[in-house]
Amino acid sequence: MLGLGAYEISVITAMGVAVIFALSLNLITGFCGQISLGHAAFYGIGAYTSALLTKAGLPIGVGLLGAVILAGLVGIIVGFASLRVRHDFLAITTMGVGFLFVGITRQLDFVGGEMGVSGIPDSGLSKAGFMLFVLLFVALTILFSLHLKRSWMGYSFDAIASDEDTARVIGLDVSRYKLAAFAMGTALAGLAGALYAHNVRFIDPESFGFVESITVLAMVVIGGIGSVPGVIFAAALLSILPLWIQFFDEYKLLLYGGLLFAMMRFSPGGMAGLARRIFPSKTRGVKS
Amino acid sequence: MAMLQLENMDCGYGAFHAVHDLSLTIQQGEIFALLGPNGAGKSSTIMSIAGHVQLMSGAIRFDGTDISSLSARERVRLGIAVAPEGRRLFPDLTIEENLTVGGYSLPKGRETINKEIVFTLFPRLTERLKQPASTLSGGEQQMLAMGRAMMAEPRLLMIDEVSLGLMPKMVDVCYHAINHLKSQGVTILLVEQNTKRALEVADQVCVLESGQSVWQGTATEARKAPDLIEAFLGMTKEAS
């Protein structure tokens, strides 16, 4: 198995899922400037959709596709909410969406309610095979992110993130751009959720709650909001940090919290900002 | 008596020096005009005197003592007030509240008296007492910015871009107010793009260019030296 043990494979798979998930939020929050505190809801929608479809006997490909579509559709609906509210109001609205998702799935019997869904079919691939499958999607997501950032869409997102009203003044249809950001970001989150479901093979509402939304936002911000390499690095690191620092025993979570804090306190630009400080490029100023 | 002295002042942002080695002296009770093209460092100079732009070297003396280590708050207590570039009103506060804050460094009793004075000079403001500053028109904002600075009963009043965005009639009103303040003994440091207008009221002039003083002298001299105007202030004959 590529010379990797089962443990390493499961760690890399988990990292891969986290990277896709974090990049999906980076599309919305990093690129388009729309802060979301409820992103785990879409991760959850993806996970549930694929879990239920494959349990019903459909192939995993259909599961993934269903996850992407449903998460994206709900994402568009929430995107419409983002057109009404802004900034911190939006942050709290999306947080509410996250709580609503958990509250509803808890009570819906056909998705397992409190009991969640267990016995989710695996991919049919070996553990290593599934890891490569996930990594393939990671690669596609990264390429898409980089492409988007360089396209005119990414350019327009920059403007919207900076100042919506002025973006309108130069003719940008801000509403449609925001919807596009939500649709793409949430669809990708759905993909990540589906992969998660087939990896862990048990899902319950709590796995997609507020803590998860916060964790993914932390990945994006610590990576350096909007920076693709930074977010990849932070997602990979933060997703396995709890496993790595096992030997801190009782102090593990203290250390984790402390690190989140210290990173922001001492390198507010995240890892991307840190990298820029260590390897400064030429600074810009008026050439006169 | 020299009220304000800048001695070899350097100030700027981070590592960037906006003003180099600037020395000038402003006498008690006079109007001092700071002129120069865009980006010359006029606003930076004013904000450095007010305590907001970092002083890198040199000294700022007010009444003979170096105030460069004092906070902005301590400077207003000494009698330095500013109507800054871009006005910087408190957008969520009403006109009345903006004025209240203007007089915050004084005992409460002075507030009412000073408000009366401001309202006499700018009657337009009385009509909109409860309107948030963010919804005022450009010119109304300029009046409020001046009024707010006057509320502090300054001994040195610094006004950045006096006539920016004001209609001709309003420019008159503002200069009338400036003359009035001068007659009360207030010292005034003003920045103005309308050079002609500034030279009419000023006693002393300093021309800045690229952060350096390129000419200093009395306004009378400045008015008599067309080459100077040509060279530094960028006014062409046809425009003047």
Partner: protein
């Protein structure tokens, strides 16, 4: 001559304040119209009503016969309005050049979907560089707008509006904050644009330049239109003088 913009009986109220009161005017293609009036007269508000930032309480606005009143801002911009705002608002997360290039690429950004498949920016950057040179701030192309003095930002606003290649350009106090020479140069540029066929409405308090370059004036006071027509004639009416000009100072009107 075709009528480009037609404003009829527009009223804008904010709570108790009537900022614009039943104002009508129209603008022909190729005109350079000066829109002046005292502080707080409602000029900026009128401009905002045209661009769609505020909704008129009453009245109708047409551009080339098409009713604008119900359209959102960005659609009006796409119909041919370009405007430079009184309070400057650059995008602070990009350079000055990028600010303008984004506007120059407006045909790429009409729909998010097609924007996703367009990459090249070279041509727009060249156009932007040219516009920056035209307004006189080419030296700041690579600068971060947050560090620029007001005079530069004002011109950035104008360049960005021009980059949209609007059929009607609205300028709200573009000369404020510029010194005489700079203002004069920018005014010359406005004239040149106009002579090249650009229709322009100019809101400005720099009366000297207004009188020098505008072919027609509209004067508004307290929300009401109080004068319209040839600059010289308008400025000589007593209402306008009383409302606008100071106590007999010799404004170098032309």
């Amino acid at each position: 001559m075709t009528t480009l913009l037609d404003v009829s009986a527009v009223t804008v109220r904010f709570g108790g304040v009537t900022a614009v009161n039943g104002v009508s005017f129209s603008l022909n293609k190729g005109e350079l119209l000066g829109f002046i009036g005292p502080n707080g007269a409602g000029k900026t508000t009128m401009m905002r009503a045209i661009t769609g930032v505020v909704t008129p309480t009453e009245g109708e606005i047409r551009l080339l016969g098409k009713i604008l009143t119900k359209l959102p801002v960005h659609q009006r911009v796409r119909l041919g309005l370009g405007f430079s705002q009184q309070l400057v608002k650059p995008f602070r997360n990009m350079t000055v050049l990028e600010n303008v290039a984004l506007a120059a690429g407006s045909r790429h950004t009409a729909s998010p979907f097609s924007a996703l498949f367009r990459m090249k920016r070279q041509r727009e950057k060249e156009q932007a560089a040219q516009l920056l040179a035209q307004v006189g701030i080419a030296d700041a192309a690579e600068a971060d707008p947050s560090n620029l003095p007001l005079g530069y930002l004002k011109r950035l606003e104008v360049a960005r509006a021009l980059a949209l290649k609007p059929s009607l350009l609205l300028l709200d106090e573009p000369l404020a904050g510029l010194n005489h020479a700079e203002a004069h140069k920018l005014a010359d540029m406005i004239v040149a644009l106009n002579q090249a066929g650009q229709s322009i409405i100019l809101i400005e308090h720099n009366l000297g330049e207004v009188m020098r370059i505008c072919s027609r004036l509209i004067v508004q006071d307290n929300g009401n239109k109080i004068g319209e027509g040839d600059p010289e004639a308008v400025m000589n009416t007593s209402v306008v003088r009383a409302a606008y000009l100071g106590e007999g100072n010799g404004h170098a009107a032309a």
